[in-house]
Symmetry: C3
């Protein structure tokens, strides 16, 4: 598809500055701009690229002040990032959507599937599973006994969902994610071996949740591991048994949440963060990358470090740590001085 810059500006309620008749057919990053594409500028760190970009047009915030000549047409909008998101989503929606049931695939005779299903080849729907309308199940997905999948949800190739789990509507689960694997529960015995504690609970994922590639969410020992409405989990995250993640909490890649942790709503959990078992994280908490959390944390805390501490204190302590040998040398100097004075 090809549009004039003028048409794009009209769609975005934007104002054209320059030649509005130029045609664009794709979207590019401003530092990798290509003629015939539309780019955007939102992060000020990238402003320097606008003066040399090869993109034909660039979407900018309406108050953008150029500091030199440019070769591109501008589209001034209220919020360039939001405008970009609208265009990307438009582009995405223009792609054909897969529908129909490919063969060979496997649907148990006791499973129920909704209208407008896409079921890829080699996908498997087990006994008594219930699949909503407009669901897309890519090849090689596994859906266990009694699983429920809500409408409009997309399960990409190779997703595995164990028996009894419930997936909400409008969710997206990426390839290789595992939902409902056994919690890590073992009882030590007197001879040093461990005996397995059966994990009879499930996972409940509410609506509008996105789960990244190869992320794992264990079932509860009893009851449910809960991923609330609007949660977004990145790739390679571990959610252990009986965890609850509150509404709209987002979690970056490789975070690990231990058993029975309760995380509040609208939190931001950084990459590679680890949270120890049985503690509570309040609402709107922000945890920096690689944080290690060993005790409960109140609402709205902004913390980092391992073990975590208040963010500004961590900045100071880390700066001193960098020159810790200087601090020690200062102390040794003072000790020498004291000794000398003692002699005098």
């Amino acid at each position: 598809m090809e549009f004039t810059v003028k048409d794009v500006a009209a769609f975005l309620d934007g104002v054209v500055e320059g030649d509005g008749s130029i045609k664009v057919s794709n979207i590019s990053k401003i530092d990798q701009g290509v003629p015939g594409t539309l780019s955007f500028l939102s992060n000020p760190a990238y402003s320097k690229y606008i003066y040399n970009t090869l993109a034909s047009a660039v979407i900018v915030n309406k108050d953008f002040q150029p500091e030199g000549p440019m070769n591109c047409t501008l589209i001034r909008v209220e919020n360039s990032y939001a405008s970009l998101a609208r265009l990307l989503n438009l582009y995405e929606k223009s792609k054909p959507v897969k529908r129909g049931i490919e063969q060979p695939s496997y649907i148990s005779s006791t499973a129920k599937t909704g209208e407008n299903l896409y079921l890829g080849a080699f996908a498997y729907i087990s006994d008594k599973a219930v699949i909503g309308n407009n669901v897309r199940i890519y090849p090689q997905v596994y859906i266990g006994d009694n699983v429920v999948v809500g409408e409009n949800t997309i399960l990409y190739s190779g997703v595995k969902i164990y028996a009894d789990c419930r997936i909400g509507a409008n969710c997206i689960i990426h390839s290789g994610a595992v939902i409902g694997s056994d919690g890590f529960g073992f009882a030590p015995t007197s001879d040093g071996t461990y005996s397995k504690i059966a994990q009879i609970g499930n996972v409940i994922i509410e609506d509008f949740v996105e789960i990244g590639a190869n992320t794992t969410v264990d079932c509860a020992t009893m009851g449910s591991t809960l991923i609330r409405k609007g949660v977004k989990l990145d790739n390679l995250i571990q959610i252990a048994h009986n965890v609850e993640v509150g509404e709209n909490t987002v979690m970056a890649s490789q975070a690990g949440i231990s058993g029975s942790v309760k995380i509040g709503r609208n939190c931001m959990i950084g990459g590679q963060v680890g949270i120890a078992g049985h503690i509570t994280i309040g609402d709107e908490v922000k945890l920096g990358d690689q944080s290690g959390v060993m005790t409960s944390i109140p609402d709205k805390s902004v913390m980092i470090g391992s073990p975590v501490m208040e963010h500004r204190a961590w900045m100071k302590s880390s700066a001193i740590f960098r020159n810790l040998s200087q601090l020690r040398n200062d102390v040794i100097q003072l000790q020498k001085l004291a000794k000398q004075q003692d002699k005098e």
Copy 2:
């Protein structure tokens, strides 16, 4: 299934306190208790929930002393956690077990399979593989050439086992786990590229091992990567080439063990721990979450931190780190004082 509390108590060699004729049909967590369910109290931190739980009956330790009125029937037992484990396992065993060979699936004409097999659709058994009796292989599992799988082992959907690996009896491997992928071995060349070193060894997993979802165990360069009897690995763990993990060692999620590390028996390795290559971890070692281990560690050590140190010393150092700017200010104050004295 439904049981009276009296029947459950008899099964557990427990004593009923309250109405033993009440019926229960499921197990619940005490803080999420529901009428008609049986709950339990083991962790003292959860004692407060027993006074308001809606669970019909609660299993407690025989010396439990209530501190207020309760609405539930009690079952007093020797060890409430062990009793719970027995009940959960009973519940689990009451579920129907999958058996038979679903179609389409793939079994090489040179493979051997035992009695009572469950083979899910789209599962693949390659040339000369040998599968023991009562093995359950869920859909979309891959079993490479010459692989041996011992009896009663369960491979959940999507497990991948490379050629030549050996899996013991009574093992459980969860979805997405990869056994026998190439070790990370490359030789630098003079032009800055790397040439691959063929990884011709295998993985040997002994009996009663459980391996978590999306965990990876690389094959040895030569010889075998060894996971000893009774080892329990959580999700998303990395075990590199030629590692040996000793009997009954348990490892929490996202731990990473580098090449040729030898870990002793009955160790407890925390989540997100990293262990550098070619070192030895003794028996009964405990490593706290997020530890980083760069040198060998003797038997029975209890360590944490990155780099690891003795646990109590780490607690002290971490507490001081939290106020490191205070320590520096104290030193600056002393320096000023010394300067002043010098002038006087």
Copy 3:
């Protein structure tokens, strides 16, 4: 296959010391040597094993000086490690290579496949995909729409490649790796929920790249996530959207690279390293295990720690941290002394 030690030495341009007529049929580690096998000594830490190894012959560097009697024949070569690599590769190449198309598998009528293909059962090739000559695609692999796979590349069982990605020639991708899953991009909205930003870019993997088991590489928001020629990624690594990894850079297990990071060529990234978004890592940079990187790093830096610092400074600071309570006690002692002097 069986060879005389003399034949092996000739192949390696080596010199036999001892009985060259002995026959060997496999390769073993020196500390696990078995009669009838050939072992090697490269890492000096393993020298002690040569005096008792049961291996029939051992490849050593030409300047190796034994410190005691040995039972094995020696083969002296220029570089024992390189010689080992040659032998392992020879052994690997002697194994039969899978070819042909197994059934059931799925090839879209609009896909193109090259000569000499291996396509395992339950593998899936989607619309308009283009597969080069001599490619091996193991069972249960998924290849999305428009994907290009270069010649001689191997995709092990369960690899998932999303639409529009391009994989170079002579690559190896291990089981469970996911290429092209959506980048983690969400725009916060005024009601606290997040709206998804469509990820319309792809992943480009150049030639001679190896990607480990269960590693994830997200597609770009726009444009391409780039894995340059000769890059080697270990298992369970996260590469976020719009990252670029430079030629011949190697990365150990469980490293995580955030969005839009640019990594130079010939870097060595340690295990469990985390790199924050939108920064640049120069060429030939070495980052120690578990490093946390929050700002850009110049060429040839050798760094470690979280946040990272120069390697030697980190060694010193870490050593002091280990006894931080001693340092504090010294300061307290000085304070007491000062107070006392003040009184006097």
